[in-house]
Symmetry: C2
Subunit: 249 residues, 2 copies
Amino acid sequence: MAQKAKSNRKVNTDHSEELSGSQFIRVVVNDKLFLRDPQETELGRKILQHAVIMIDNLGFEEFTFAKLAQAIQSTEASIYRYFENKHNLLIYLLSWYWLWLEYLVLFRTNNISKPADRLKTIVAVMCKQESSGPFTISLLDEVRLKSIVMNEFNKVYLTKQVDAQNNDGFFKHYKSFVKTVAKAIADYAPNYPYCNSLAAMVVDESTRQLYFAHHLPSLTDIQVSDKMEQDAQAFLEHIINSATANHRR
Amino acid sequence: MAQKAKSNRKVNTDHSEELSGSQFIRVVVNDKLFLRDPQETELGRKILQHAVIMIDNLGFEEFTFAKLAQAIQSTEASIYRYFENKHNLLIYLLSWYWLWLEYLVLFRTNNISKPADRLKTIVAVMCKQESSGPFTISLLDEVRLKSIVMNEFNKVYLTKQVDAQNNDGFFKHYKSFVKTVAKAIADYAPNYPYCNSLAAMVVDESTRQLYFAHHLPSLTDIQVSDKMEQDAQAFLEHIINSATANHRR
DNA sequence: ACACCAATAATAGTTTTACTATCATTGTTA
DNA sequence: TAACAATGATAGTAAAACTATTATTGGTGT
C-alpha cells in the first residue's frame, strides 16, 4: 500500500493522475533529495516542470519558491512539502539530467562492442543538445536541463556541506555518469592511469567550453556557431585520444 | 594630490600608514572591483586580511559583512564604503590570487628560454601551494587564497551577471593568467589549435582535481597525500604533453 | 591654535528571502 | 458519511543585504 519506503502514508496512486498531459518514464532519483516524491502528483510534476523553466530563465539565485508558487498558482508552503529548500530541488533536477544522460548512453551504445566506437558515441551524447529519446516523452525539457547544468552545476558541490550531502548521495547520479565514462575510457585504453580524472575533466569541459564560448570567449578556441557542439566534441575526442595514445590495445 | 584616478578627494597617504605590520608590494587590482582602494588604509587592509581568513574558514555563503565587521571591530557600513557587496570583495581577492600567480610565473620563468622548460615551470607554479615569493611579504595569505580559489572560484562567473561583470573587467586578471598559460603552450607547440581551451582546462583542473580528491574522491585518480600536488602536476603535464604531441617543433 | 574635513563609528531602519506554523478546504476512500 | 491526506490561505519569524543619518575623531593647512 505504502509505495515509497520513506513514507508510511497512503498516497494518491496512478488512477487519478494517469496521463496528465503525456506519458513518461519514471526517473528514479535518490529519495534523500525530496520530502515527497514530486513525480507522483500533479502538483509535484508542475513544480519540476516550472522549476526547470524558471531556473533556466532567471538563473538559480534569482529563482525563489515564492516566484515558483506564483507561476504554478500554488503556495510556498506547498512547495516546501516536496523539497526542503531550493538547493535540493536544483540538485534533484541536475540528478535527473545525469540519469537521463546515462540512459541515453546505455541506449545508444547498446549494440556497439568496439571500445573506440562506444567511447566516441558517449562523447557525442555528452556534447549534443538532444531532446528526449525515441521511446520516451520525458516530463522535463532536457534541452533546458542541459542549459541549467551548464550554468549552475559547478556551483552545487562547491559548498561547505559537500561532505554531508555526498554522504546522503546527493551527487550519486553525477558520479555514476562519470564512472560510466571512466569505464569506457578504461575499456578503450587498458591500464591508463587517469581514467577517473580524465572522465571528470571531459564531462566538465563538455559544458564549460560552451559556457566560455558564450560568455568569456577568450578562454576557449570554440566559437559560437551552429556547429559549436561538434567543435566541442572534436576537442574532447582529441584530448581523450591523445591522452590515452600510449595505452590502447 | 588625488592619488587614485577614480577619486577626487584627498586621501590619507603613505606617512600615517607606512609599515603597519609589514611591507608589501602594492597589487594593482582592477579598480571597478572596489569603491575605495582597500590597500590604502589600515581599515581596508584589515578588511582584506580578515576576509581571506573568514571566507576560507566559513565558506563564502556563510561569510557576511556583519561577521567581518565584528571580527575587525568595525561596522557593516564602513565595509560597504570599500566594497559594494561581498561578491565584489570575493572577486577582488580571487583577482589578487591570479595576479600573484602571474607575478610568480614571471619571476620563475625569467631566465628560462626553452619553451618546454617554461611551460613545465608554469604548471609547477600553478600546482604548488606556495607562499610569498622571495622578495615580497604579501599582505594576504596566499595559501589561504589558493584554498579560496579551489572552493569558490568556479562559482563567481556562473551568474546571470557574467556579461556585465566581464565588461567591467571583473575577470581580467583570471583571463590574463590563462592567456599567459595559453601563450606558453603556443610557444611550446606552434600551430596547436586549442591553446586557449587547453590552458583554461588545465588551470581549472589544477584546483578541481584537488577538490575532488578531498571531497568526491571517486572523480579523480589523485589521492590525498603530502605529494598530491606533484600528482596533480604530473597529470596536467601528461595532458599537455600528449595533447600537443603532434605540434611540437 | 584653530577650523576644517575625510574617514569611521554608532545606530537604526528597509526590503527580501528562506523558512515555519496554523488552520481551513477539498476530494477520495473505506 | 466519517476520516484523512493533500493543498490552500494566511501569517509570522529570523537573518541577510543593504541604505541612511548623525556623531566622533584625528590629521591637515593656515
